[in-house]
Amino acid sequence: MPLDQAFRLSSILLAAAGFASLTLAIALPPWLLVVAGGAFTMALLRVRHPAAISDTMHHFRLSALTWNIFLLLAFAGFWIDLLLVSQEVLPAGIHFLVLLLVNKLSNLDLRRDFLHLYAISLIALLASAALTTQIWYAPFFFIYLIIGVWTLLLHHLVQEQEEQVGLSDHVPPATTPGTCFPRLTIRFFWTTNVMAAVAFGFTLLFFFSIPRVGVGFFQHDQGESLRTTGFSEQVDLGVIGPVKQDPSIVMRVELPDRVGHELRQEPLYLRGVAYNRYDGKSWSNSLPQRRMLTEVPEGTFSLRTPGTKPQATARPLRQDILLEPLDTAVLFGAPLLTSVKGNFLSVQSDLTGSFHLPYPLHTRIQYTAYSSSPGLNTTEKTASALLYPDFILRHYLHTPDVNPQIVDLARQITQPATSVMQAVSLVHTHLLTSYRYSLDVPSLQSSHPLDDFLLTRKTGYCEHYATAMVVLLRTVGIPARLVTGFLATEWNEFGGYYTVRQRDAHAWVEVYFPQSGWLTIDPTPPAPGAVGPTWWHAATSAMDSMRLKWDRLFVHYSAHDQFTVVQGIREGGEAVRAGLYETMSALSAQALAIIDRLVTNLTPAGIPHHAVMLLLLIIAAYAGITLLRRHKSTPSRQNTCSAQQQTVIALYTDMVHSCARQGIVKPASNTPQEFLHEIRERWSEAWPIVESVTQLYARVRFGEAPLTAEEVTTAEHDVRRLRVLSRSVRAAPRSSH
């Protein structure tokens, strides 16, 4: 392809890359898409078939005045759009930008038109960056970068070519007769791609190293928050059911301290909110009082949940959570949360141990949660009766007007139990075995959803199971509460994290034991999951993993991450230094010990031990210096001359020094012949001598001719004569004084 054709093509592709990213970021009106698409098609056809299109365009070409009127109309349209239609600056501006793009694509004649086109495409890419954080931006950015390098390079080369042939600023069509541009070669193709790859490498380097000092004056929330259910002050029984089909991703959870295979089969409960009051149809929290958590150390908000006793041996479970923008301020974490660490202004906690932000954030947030999951105390495992605190009895044993049949059922289930824990297990087993899991339950319309579940229909989902267990346990005097959150079961093999979706919304039970605290029990049997094709699952997992990495590394890269990287490098450097020091110390100690033994064995009786040591040191130092000198005297690549050549170089250098003493200095840029000519001009008496030595020098040094002993003697004699001549010339002015 000729250079100028490639240049035009890359320019249009660059604009297309910017426009495509814009199209994906914002829904453009169809008429605008059609107009822009038509402009791109025409521009591409002009590149491919310039002669035919130019002839056709010649008849339909709009005048400059028409285009100016078009631009004025577009600008007026921008104001109308801003004030009446979209009523926002960004969409109106983008519509105007697309019209400018159409104008430039239709009038790519002058060099400045191309420059304007590049600027418009860059602004389009910038606008799409302002509108989205989705992963599709990454390939578009990469393509834009590659084409950008091509375009700028071709722009420069075409300009240079035109300057050489004396063309004006006007960029001729690709096949203008008389304009001959070179064709692109394979070598050029690969060289340019390597340049683009290097540019991409630098881009990543700069991206990660530019200090994040964003002041965020014009920062705005990106996108809308995801609607969730089950985390409000009051939750109706059955609200979770409708979202159980929603595959929207809510959060991603990494467990950095656990190995992947430990987690693969193990579901992870992510606790949100706990409820203690049930009125027969909905759950609410009668303990809504919240308190601010103390921030010690900076960024870490800790809590000791009232009613829990932290076990000294319990190892906290660390979870790195990337939470999508939700319409709730709840912070999720494995039961039971003890602290959270993140870039929050403040974190609050209620009396049920739930963590809240002051208000919902409409951006993705990333935080680390620490949880301690209590195990059941051995004493309490077998205790037939437990003594509960008043606070617990007051708030966690309340039951609504329960159907007497349910009370009978509870007593019937727990009758064989000899301990509290056994009673809990019996209820749990009864619910698991006697009821069927189904989402097809019209609970919200029912006036007694629990009765329907336990006595009539015996079909339900997590909320029904959990509510039934809490009510059954409370009926027999065991304090319990309902917890809503998510049950993460989707392990991403590629990213090593749990993907949590809306459909993973779940409800379960926490049972209170005075010494052990709140124990998590899930009475819901596993839902019959829909098994899709394995390749599809793998593909979606891989895609999600990439999306997470994009979010982590690019979208949410922050000053904190930079600080962590720097700290990591510093710690790594210190570790390497310490390791190196230790290794060197060990080696030197061993070497000293060996030398010491050697010296002891070799030292004849009567000679001081230290004297031999000193002697050895001197010998070692001498050997080192000798080796160093030999290394320095090793001829380098430039000095790979034969002995004969070196002799003649030395003679020539002597001669040049003699001339320099006479004021005729040989610049490095002068050849020997030029220097000889200068000598003839400025010091004619010395010319025959210099000429003789120079000829010999040129013959041996550059012609690699053999050097005879007679020639060396003659040259040495000549140099001596020159030295004498130089001295005599310098003495002459002195004597004349």
């Binding site: 960056a129 420069h156 014009f218």
Partner: protein, 386 residues
């Protein structure tokens, strides 16, 4: 090499000067726009904290850095060798040759503009290299025109490349010193003056045998004579071998006496006088006349033939104007030198006449001065180039 931080301030300044002398960057118009756009994206990134803006900023910065690195590779490790004429004349183009080699093993040099650095100023010679492959060399010739008489010193070579994106122009300086002499301009002499000049000395010239074309004598052939000189017509007529002898052509010598005294305000006239002197030398040398040049109080120079006339031109190139205060000394020295000369006519050239010493001027065959030959000295009036 000592680190820059330990340098004394003066050393550091010298170091900076050397650095800026050897490498410089100029931002092109496109580059300025690109930098402004980068600045705008940077401000947007800082203000919004949007990481995708930071990504775009990083892309633009990477293009700037890549531009710097590639342009540096283009101007590195080049070798230059210049071939210049020994001397040249004012306003008369001469051909110079430049040998350029790329000493890099793998990286080509692209889009190079090569300029001469004369007295610290870049002089564009129109040399442009689109592509110079690794370890390759090329030869370029260009026209060299000097507008002033004297020594013309070239400090070195400036290499400029806008590669790869045309956003910046990287400049590199390669020291490649050279000096050449610029002789006074040779101007066409008016026809009337040429007749006058031709007649000078002819009356003093004695006809004698020698190489030439004009007939001097016919005589009988003697052994040892060149058989090619036999005059066959006369031989046929007289029935004896007759030989043709030719008259020696222009064997006379002319002395050009140039008065170097001239006040400051007549500097242009002085330069014009030197031009006239150079033109006379050129005129006479081409006609085989032997010349003697006497410049003020300096020793005279002799020239016979074009080869030796170069010395006269070089002397004119370096001729220095003497102040009016030296008038007496110069006049005396010239009168003395002309008095010693016994052979041939003398042309007296002066840009300015000292009235006090006018009578001391020895008798000459032709005096050329602004007073006597206004048309010759006044470029505007004579229509001759200045």
């Amino acid at each position: 090499m000592r680190p820059a931080t330990n340098m004394a301030p003066r050393d550091f300044r010298a170091f900076l000067h050397r650095l800026s002398h050897h490498r410089a960057i100029r931002v092109t118009t496109e580059g300025t726009r690109f930098l402004l756009l980068t600045l705008a994206v940077g401000i947007a990134a800082v203000n919004t904290g949007n990481n995708l803006f930071y990504l775009l900023l990083a892309m633009m910065l990477s293009l700037i850095v890549l531009s710097g690195l590639l342009s540096e590779q283009c101007v590195r490790r080049l070798d230059f060798h210049r071939h210049l004429p020994e001397s040249l004349f004012v306003n008369q183009p001469a051909v110079a040759t430049l040998w350029i080699a790329n000493r890099k093993r793998h990286i080509p040099s692209v889009s190079l503009r090569i300029l001469d650095v004369v007295a610290g100023q870049d002089q564009d010679r129109g040399i442009h290299l689109t592509h110079l492959t690794p370890e390759a060399s090329t030869l370029r010739s260009y026209q060299l025109i000097a507008h002033r008489r004297g020594r013309y010193g070239i400090d070195g070579i400036r290499v400029i490349t806008p590669f790869p994106f045309g956003l910046f122009q990287k400049k590199a300086f390669y020291p490649c010193e050279a000096t050449l002499l610029v002789c006074p301009a040779i101007i066409p002499l008016p026809p009337l003056r040429l007749q006058e000049l031709q007649s000078i000395g002819h009356e003093q010239a004695l006809a004698r045998r020698g190489p030439g074309t004009s007939l001097y004598n016919l005589r009988e052939f003697r052994p040892g004579d060149d058989s090619r000189a036999i005059h066959w017509l006369t031989t046929a007529r007289t029935a004896k071998l007759m030989i043709k002898e030719t008259e020696a052509e222009d064997q006379h010598m002319i002395t050009l006496a140039l008065l170097t005294v001239c006040p400051d305000e007549e500097d242009r006239t002085f330069e014009r006088t030197l031009s006239i002197a150079a033109s006379l030398i050129d005129y006479y040398v081409k006609r085989g006349v032997r010349l003697r040049l006497l410049m003020g109080d300096q020793p005279h120079l002799l020239a016979d033939g074009e080869e030796q006339s170069r010395d006269l031109f070089h002397a004119l190139a370096l001729c220095e104007r003497r102040p009016v205060t030296a008038s007496a000394f110069v006049h005396q020295a010239m009168a003395h030198a002309l008095g010693d000369a016994s052979e041939g006519p003398t042309i007296w050239l002066c840009a300015w006449m000292d009235v006090a010493w006018f009578d001391a001027v020895p008798a000459v065959d032709l005096m050329l001065s602004p007073h006597t030959h206004k048309d010759l000295f006044d470029a505007a009036g004579s229509g001759l180039p200045a």
